[in-house]
């Protein structure tokens, strides 16, 4: 018994020394698997070469595509025990949850000090800002409005040019279906993928300018374009696999890989997945922006911010400054399979697909994704996700449109 107590005491002492270590830096994220973790560790290594004295504590929480980590983070922030810096999606996921309640410190000074305000697209900085102050550093960028397709099937159905309108797209889906393929694969067992599809259609119908104004309260949700987006979705659903609600997004992407489905609308993490399955971008699979969204870039971005009362504020600022550098961004992103948020990064480090995406990122309008936390508060996106989930089954355009208006009204958006 005595021995157990001594061991416990030693452990406790060791732990408290570790926790109280003066020169530490605690980084919170949900990057625990695949390329993400490797990328994060590569960042840590690089950070170490600049600041060898700072001890990094990797407080990553695994599981649930970040939902577990988000729950842990909320508890820590509520309990007044914030990490030094944490991963969060750009936009409302940070603003609504932590900035508006006053838990974050603005970091505009970092951008000004380094003179890098023009090194990030203005639209992106707008998304991570609240009332004129910037609150986080975007590290990576994914594009959500991309169609990935099987090139062999494309050839078989005679697709020479990538479709840019719904009419063309539907025609190819129809041809694919006639040849016995699934036109558009969908895997909405976890519900979010159907909203992922719908938000791209919404963007196509509204156009990037109007779409972005929705979230600023400058245009109304009561717009025929949104209703029309629902009927476009209804048309697309005719070409979807019947077992969509039994599949995840990986399963749906796999259907394209296995030659069972012609195409799939997904964020470009699907590109990374297809590559791990052994396909080469531009050879076995091609891609194009969701029809009608050629001049828009639906953004999914991970950022890091500075919580108030961070235990090692100085180190956290060093970390954030480090993340803004081209070197750090070019270290992390090729491993994770995403593009850097800086527009002056080294393109030669990225594959053909990512170069295409980088080009669009610096030239097209950037629009925040709803389901990936950037455009609207979580309460809005989960409610909309439920409404779209119903719509996929019932396919009642009027009813779904009415529900969207209610949800928008509930969350304080314009609906007149």
């Amino acid at each position: 018994m005595k021995r157990v107590i001594i061991v416990l005491a030693v452990l406790f002492a060791a732990f408290s020394v570790f926790a109280a270590s003066e020169n530490a830096l605690e980084i919170f994220s949900w990057w625990t698997g695949g390329g993400e973790e490797e990328g994060l560790l590569a960042l840590f290594d690089l950070f170490h070469t600049y600041y060898p004295d700072i001890e990094i504590i990797n407080a990553a929480v695994a599981g649930g595509a970040g939902t577990n980590a988000k729950a842990v983070l909320k508890t820590r922030m509520l309990g007044g025990n914030p990490p030094d810096s944490f991963q969060v999606h750009a936009g409302m996921e940070l603003t609504d949850t932590y900035v508006i309640p006053g838990l974050m410190e603005p970091i505009t000074f970092i951008y000004k000090e380094l003179g890098i305000l023009d090194k990030f697209p203005k639209d992106l900085l707008d998304i991570v800002s609240y009332k004129g102050e910037i609150y986080s550093v975007p590290v990576n960028v994914h594009r959500a409005n991309v169609v990935f397709y099987n090139k062999k099937i494309a050839e078989e159905i005679g697709m020479k040019k990538e479709p840019t309108t719904w009419a063309e797209f539907l025609m190819y889906l129809d041809k694919a279906q006639q040849k016995g393929y699934i036109g558009l694969s969908l895997g909405d067992k976890n519900k979010w993928t159907s909203l992922h599809l719908f938000e791209s259609i919404m963007l196509a119908e509204l156009g990037p300018e109007k779409y972005n104004k929705l979230w600023k309260g400058e245009t109304s949700f009561n717009d025929p374009a949104i209703k029309h987006a629902l009927s476009v979705m209804k048309d697309l659903l005719k070409y979807v696999n019947s077992d969509h609600s039994a599949l995840t997004w990986q399963d749906a992407t796999r259907l394209v890989f296995e030659g069972k489905a012609f195409c799939n609308v997904m964020g470009d993490w699907a590109e990374g997945y297809l590559k791990t399955l052994g396909w080469r971008p531009g050879v076995e699979f091609g891609w194009f922006a969701v029809p009608g969204t050629q001049n828009a870039f639906m953004l999914v971005s991970d950022t890091f911010g500075l919580p108030k009362n961070a235990p090692h504020r100085e180190n956290a600022i060093k970390w954030l400054k480090f993340l803004t550098t081209v070197e750090a961004q070019d270290t992390f992103n090729p491993i994770k399979g995403s593009i850097p948020a800086r527009i002056d990064a080294d393109k030669s480090k990225y594959d053909v697909y990512l170069q295409w995406s980088m080009n669009d990122f610096s030239t097209k309008s950037i629009c925040p994704s709803i389901i990936h936390g950037s455009a609207a508060p979580e309460a809005f996106s989960t409610a909309l996700m439920d409404a779209i989930n119903k719509f996929v089954t019932e396919q009642d355009v009027n009813k779904a449109f009415k529900e969207i208006l209610w949800i928008a009204e509930d969350n304080g958006y314009v609906t007149d």
Partner: protein, 306 residues
């Protein structure tokens, strides 16, 4: 001496009583308090001002079509799950109790599924019932049907949005998985009950010329009533608060055909930050379980007094 014993007794029990008071009853009270509040966003929670809104969260829930679906799903899931596990449990117990050759092996075999976690059961059964892209590309069970030439048995299983009245047919595969998992456990309970019936009663019945069937219904079953009651309570509360099996197997399903209150509670609380609404669901679920358990507690307490 007596007093000393009392002091020792209290001090031994006190830690667990205090822990239960805080972590069970304290938190139930807290959840009840939250369910009457306006804490439906993270910032409202952070501000920490308690605003009493009465039954607003409850009213909103009962008007919510998703929650209505959840209630129907719970009702039908519970009914079929209880019926399935108990019926199958009795049948397996009788077969094992007959002491036929190899019955020991089967006794263990039937019990094994209980040792698996619901998440594993859910994942495996979701593969078995995965419909595939019908009609050309079936999977799992549907593929088997196709190979056997039973094409018209192929069905969407848990992706089906058909319903009979309020009963969503997509629940059938989930019920099968749940019954598979827990009927072995019910069998074990009945087996213990059957083996506890004194042989002389049965002998007496036999001497009186009762048939096997009559012995079972008139002698054994009445003696097994307490077992049935405990099984109903244990399985009933599992089914009323089921989460992991459904979450791993089907999720909410298309148009919420396989959604249950626990999943909705989880999503409202941890995805939408609607803490007050989530707490309201928690309280409603607690009431359901209480409706099942409280009468049982009363009757068993009365029984003890006697």
């Amino acid at each position: 001496m007596r007093k000393k014993n009392l002091v020792i007794g209290i001090s031994v029990v006190a830690p667990s009583i205090i822990a239960i008071a805080i972590f069970v009853y304290g938190f139930i009270t807290w959840t009840l308090r939250v369910s009457f509040s306006n804490w439906n966003s993270f910032s409202a929670l952070l501000r920490g001002e308690y605003k009493f809104v009465g039954l607003r969260n409850y009213i909103r829930l009962f008007q919510d079509t998703r929650f209505q679906t959840d209630l129907w799903n719970t009702l039908f899931f519970t009914l079929f799950f209880l019926f399935g596990t108990i019926a199958l449990g009795i049948i397996m117990a009788i077969l094992v109790d007959k002491g036929l050759k190899g019955s020991r092996l089967f006794q263990n075999l039937f019990l094994f599924p209980m040792a698996i976690s619901f998440v594993v059961t859910g994942t495996v059964w979701s593969w078995i019932f995965a419909p595939g892209n019908l009609p050309n590309n079936p999977q799992g069970l549907n593929l088997l049907f196709q190979k056997l030439g039973l094409d018209n048995l192929m069905w969407g299983w848990y992706t089906s949005t058909d319903s009979l009245g309020h009963f969503n047919l997509a629940l059938i595969p989930v019920i099968i998985a749940a019954v598979w998992q827990l009927s072995g456990y019910t069998m074990a309970m009945y087996l213990a009950g059957l083996r506890g019936i004194p042989n002389d009663i049965i002998e007496a019945a036999k001497v009186d010329g009762a048939s096997e069937w009559k012995i079972f219904w008139r002698v054994k079953m009445p003696l097994l009533t307490p077992i049935t009651l405990s099984a109903l309570i244990i399985l009933g509360h599992i089914s009323l608060k089921i989460f992991d099996l459904v979450f791993a197997m089907t999720g909410s399903g298309p148009n919420f055909v396989t959604d249950v209150p626990a999943i909705y509670m989880f999503e409202l609380t941890f995805r939408s930050n609607r803490y007050a609404m989530g707490s309201a669901i928690a309280i409603i679920m607690l009431l359901f379980v209480a409706i099942v358990i409280v009468p049982y507690l009363f009757s068993s307490m009365r029984g003890e007094k006697r």
